[in-house]
Amino acid sequence: METIAVYWEPRIKTYGFQRITDLALIEFSCPLSNIKPLGEILSQDDLKILRPKFIIAQVSNHEISFIICLPLKESKDFHTSLEKTSSPTPYKYIYPVSIIFFHGPHFGDRYGIANATFSSLSKAGIKILASGCSSASVFLVLAQHDIDKAEETLSETFEVAK
């Protein structure tokens, strides 16, 4: 059975933009062969209290890299606990960063959302430190000083549902 629905938004709708500020970004990596020991470290009870606002992981060259954004206090504790272990290797610590995230009524079932997001921010000269789009949401990590300009740019690109 084929069901056809005809609908197209001339301007992509969102439910609005939300921000999380004063975060630290931590990047660390480990060989894929060490993913089990890394999982054991992350599943320790003392890390249970961490409230990450953003996590992505990417795989390349037999290595997995994690990028995690945490509130400042938690990030310092987490970074310290990572440095005490031989694996994983922490590579980057950036503070302060902010997250802007949004979703909309048709995110996940239409094309063009990534293009609208990344093209408009690129044209505005805004550097995205990290991004993750899944479960019909767009999460962007930016330098804290770029957050106002990013929201302004995205607000011009997307229609915010009233």
Partner: protein, 176 residues
Amino acid sequence: MEKLKIGGIKQSLELCQFDLRGVHSSEEITANVSKLLLSQKINMEFLTHYTHRNNYHQLTFCISQDKFSTTSEILKKEGSLPIGWEINSRGQVGIITIFPHQSAIKILGAIMVSWAAQSIPIYGIATSLSAISFVTDYQLIDKAIDVIQDLFQLPKDHAPLKPEIRYCQSDIVKGD
């Protein structure tokens, strides 16, 4: 020991994955690639982008499996990507999304340990406000879900959500 609670599990249809990697260029790779996919009306169901050490960028995205050939062709076309960028792809992947109540890092760690013990790979991870999505081998998706169901406490009578329809977008409107 009491199992950690999660709110549910969702799985995707069959997808494919592309990993694009290269040194920084003046071109914004995510904007360029999303524009290329827009030209073919291809929806990205998963995306991560990050600038790693040594100024290496990596863009990873997943799209419907039936768009694998079209996407490979447009990415390999001269001028699509900056010179020196490498393209790696996986023809059959799936996404498992879980909805944790709390302890996202502990849940992430527990899944990494359990999947590694069962040789279930992780090809990518991304979180949203209420979910963690894992990209894995599509052939192993049922086994991966079984492991998660054994590992965590799910709501009573919960069954993993599995999509039964795929959205196909077209400019052509069919008449009767």
